[in-house]
């Protein structure tokens, strides 16, 4: 593997969430094999190339699976019950995320269209200072 020109910002978790704070769902695209990867990572998980570029996802996809969390971790206690889904974005990558406004299994159907929504996040004093993206039935 030859040394490639460094991508700016770097293809990291930190950069991904900085974009989320701007209301953008960003992925990296491998310039060698064309695979679109989200969450981003510094090496293509298809062909191991490090030659990547940023691309913005449209924010739409299909529901793969979901669960409704009734016993939450401490930090999520005030939200329970809440739904977490895995959505396959139209560009290829799959992402997990909380589904807004869904607390009953019959509100969702595997295969249905979903879209990403963003909400301003409260300022956090400690690491990690990441905002969240959410899903909604489209």
């Amino acid at each position: 593997m030859s040394q490639q020109e460094a991508l700016t910002p770097p293809p990291t978790v930190e950069s991904f969430y900085k974009f989320v704070a701007e209301g953008k769902l960003m992925a990296v695209k491998c310039k060698k094999c064309g695979k679109i990867i989200a969450p981003p990572r510094p090496v293509c998980d298809g062909c191991l190339s490090r030659d990547l570029e940023w691309v913005q996802l449209k924010g739409e996809g299909e529901l793969v699976t979901f669960t409704i969390i009734h016993v939450p971790p401490v930090q999520f206690a005030s939200m329970a019950p809440y739904t977490v889904a895995v959505v396959k974005m139209d560009e290829g990558p799959k992402l997990p995320g909380i589904v807004k406004g869904v607390t009953q299994p019959d509100q969702l159907k595997i295969g249905m269209r979903m879209k990403v929504v963003f909400e301003p996040a409260p300022q956090q004093q400690t690491w990690p200072q990441w905002p969240r993206y959410y899903f909604e039935p489209a």
Partner: protein, 394 residues
Amino acid sequence: MISMSGKPLAAIVSAGLSKFGRREGLYGRELFLEAAGEAFDRCPNLDPRRDIKGVFVGHMGESYEHQGHTGPTISDWLGLTPTQGFRFESACASSSAALRCAVMAIASGLLDIVLVGGVEKMTHRTTPEVTEYLAMASDFPFEQWHGLTFPGLFALMATAHMHKYGTTEEQLAMVAVKNHKNASMNPKAQFQKVITLEDALKSRVIAWPLKLFDCSPITDGASCAILVKPELAKKFTDTPIYIIGSGGATDRLGVYARDDITSLLSAKVASQEAYKMAGVEPKDIDVAEVHDCFTIAEVILYEDLGFCPKGYGGKFIEEGQTHIGGKIPVNTSGGLKAKGHPVGATGVAQVYEIYLQLTGQAGPRQVSGAEIALTHNMGGSGASAFVHIYRRGD
């Protein structure tokens, strides 16, 4: 990979297990001595200080007891200082990682006698604390950050499996009923009572579609086995069991990132390696202990370990094929579900059950004539897995 086709890699000459459950007032290292004490008592020809050349311990989290550096800690408490001690961490598969590395150490010829085991002391912590420590085995920035818990991760698999193959909540509950029944015949199990299908189905929702009785409990416990090179086995026991296959594999850390959420890739790959090495097929397995951290995991494992075709796991439990007396009894100990799941101890606790089964010491839950056995132990949501295959000694 070496093709050995059934050649013994290592022999198990003794094993021990602490009582599983809520073990108030005990520290992890003290629990470990309970398991090791049984293993030593069962093997009077073993002189621990003279014979044991390495201590391999599975231990997931230092948060529980503010105690890391588990290798030398256990070596010290066993009275074996300055014997080398190692701690292995592969989440809930920590002690089967220790086992696989002990097998490697023996097969390489570097060490001839190794003590392998695992320990976790969990119940003195609150449930939210334990939930947080366990969650560390999942993907923090994408799974934990978006509110997923371990029951939640396996619920994602359950929802997908039910949708694709028609698996039902009743079939999942049947796994819990079977494993509680088996545990009721195991005096070391955390739960000693049988449950009904209705008990399981009416229990409260933890992460839909999984309910309380779909989940393994929080448990204190320790496990231990003595591994020796095969040529030495008869020096220590007339009834050794041989490890004839060993496999290890990983999967993508995040469940969301996997190509097929209804399947456990690490179980498939690790078992294929172990079957090939052992020269056996799934139909040859007489008894198996598999990682039923959640009932859906056991159903998926029937399929991915090759006990039944893909998608048939729900039907397989419904037909009673994995009950004692069925085609392939699974989790005769009660499994993680009902025997309990002290995470770092679980892998070698499975070995302890196989040791009892293959030496004819499993009492009322004995599988008659068992000769070939399998253990499958996974870390987290299956990002790591280790499979071992065992043969009763002649």
